[in-house]
């Protein structure tokens, strides 16, 4: 059984369907990358998994348990963390408060455990520690991206969803972020990352491509580079 299973998921906005019943699964401990053109439905997919959008049909399962139909807070508590599109840090709160809010569902773990996770996030992103008292809204785009990912890590998710980690980052910083995500993955968190930047491919165990609300490719990351599907999707050539 895969850790994350998406099974015939259909959803959309109002009466407008976006996802036409997509199915895929992500194995425990792996990193899956979801590619697709603008408007393909990538954000819709991760938001639906995270419970921000109700599923019209189909199921999302985490470790065999159905999590579709739960509200977002319950999905976080069940073990799915989302670094949402557009970063969305809490602008008028400090970096440290942003991170602690990431552990909102871990009240029972106690302060000490949460502070340990803060330290862990600081070890992933030393820049955040340097700026821990700064208001999140005054940080650079790249720093806010790190914070959004760090905040999602704070819930100690079993599956970490990251929507567009590299958007607006320099190629160098994008690589740094990918390396950290790979480290988070090595430390035992399963990752599903939405990307447009093919620089992420070396870190991808699994690759998915979406087009107009359907999945058009689901395979191993290493094979995608050879197959030419990615070029076809992004450049319209083969």
């Amino acid at each position: 059984m895969s850790l994350l299973e998406v099974d015939g998921l259909r959803t959309g906005y109002g009466a407008l369907p976006v996802l036409q019943g997509i199915s895929f699964s992500v194995e425990e401990g792996e990193t899956a990358v979801l590619f697709g053109l603008n408007g393909a439905g990538k954000t819709t997919t991760v938001n639906a998994i995270a419970g921000l959008l109700p599923a019209w049909e189909g199921q999302v399962r985490l470790d065999g348990k159905v999590i579709s139909g739960l509200e977002a807070p319950k999905v976080v508590a069940a073990g799915v963390g989302l670094s949402p599109e557009g970063r969305r840090v809490f602008p008028a709160l400090s970096v440290l408060t942003n991170l602690r809010l990431g552990a909102w569902t871990r009240k029972a773990d106690g302060k000490k455990a949460v502070e340990d996770t803060v330290e862990q996030v600081f070890s992933y992103f030393p820049r955040l520690e340097e700026r821990k008292d700064q208001l999140a809204g005054t940080m650079s785009g790249g720093e806010q991206q790190m914070l959004a990912i760090g905040r999602a890590v704070m819930s100690r998710p079993r599956v970490l969803l990251i929507d567009e980690a590299s958007l607006g980052l320099s190629p160098k910083l994008a690589q740094t972020v990918f390396q950290v995500v790979s480290k988070i993955n090595d430390d035992g968190t399963t990752v599903l990352i939405v990307e447009q930047n093919v620089g992420v491919l070396p870190y991808a165990d699994q690759a998915l491509i979406m087009e107009k609300g359907t999945l058009t490719y689901d395979g191993r990351g290493a094979e995608l580079e050879k197959s030419g599907d990615l070029r076809k999707t992004y450049l319209g050539t083969s």
Binding site: F90, T97, R100, L101, R151
Partner: protein, 310 residues
Amino acid sequence: MILAFDPQQQLGQPLVLGVIEGSVYGLIALGLVLLYKSNRIFNFAQAEFGTIAALTAYFGYNGKLFGIPWHMPWIVAVIVGIFLGTLSAVLTERLVIRPLFHQPKVIMVVGTVGVLLASIAVEYLVFPTGGVAALPSVTDVGLHDPAFRVGFAGYNVSWEQVLTLLVLVAMALAAVAFFRYSRQGTAILAVSQEPTAAATVGISISRVSLLTWTLAGFLGSVAGIVSIGGAPLLVPGIMTGTALVGGITAAVLGGVTSMPGAFVGGLLVGLVHQYTQAFLSFPGAQNVAVGLVLLLVLLVFPRGLLGSET
């Protein structure tokens, strides 16, 4: 007309009365800002939660509440009043705001106007106030005696005023501590700044909404209780009539999204009111002065005195 100078009348008294009156505006403004931050709406019923609290407290202490002459001790009457005022805010959230959550904001605002009108109607049914004027204060339990003199101006402050000021200072400090240090307070700030992100970390938006309305109802209720001491007339709609405009002015002065700003704005409105009244005797002078101050502040600080999200 400009009045002749008298330090007690024109320095000491306006200071004390201005701070108390201003705190009432400040509390109303705090509630308005809180709801603006979390729902992005102006709540037109905000001051009326205070009328409900004040009328309940007064009739619990002094008259009949639901047909029963309770003769509650004043402290009990005050607590019951605050409870019912807060409860009306909770009901507003459940019955009006929650069902309109995904509607355009303007519909929610109209919903709060509906709550205001309905509240006044209910108050007329519940509280037999016909023709009652100049009611004594609920806290009128021998606390009217002068406590001490304000040093520089020789104005006598009553124990009631001392008590009121202490309560107001304690409330302001508690509000600051709540938002700075408590888990729920931080959650309210998080939801107001980034609702989507708040949901992604696991904060329940609907629970925070209920909490916010509870707090706003509490603040409005305390404002109502504090102002009945000085109210010339205790009738349905009184707080909306006397304090809503001051509260809105205070909120705008403070920058609409700043809670400390709202309170400072309230004090400013109260002091300008009282000092204008002490120096100029023509009718409406206070309101003109407050309008001028508002204009000046917005000219110098277009985003209000503390116009950042705090």
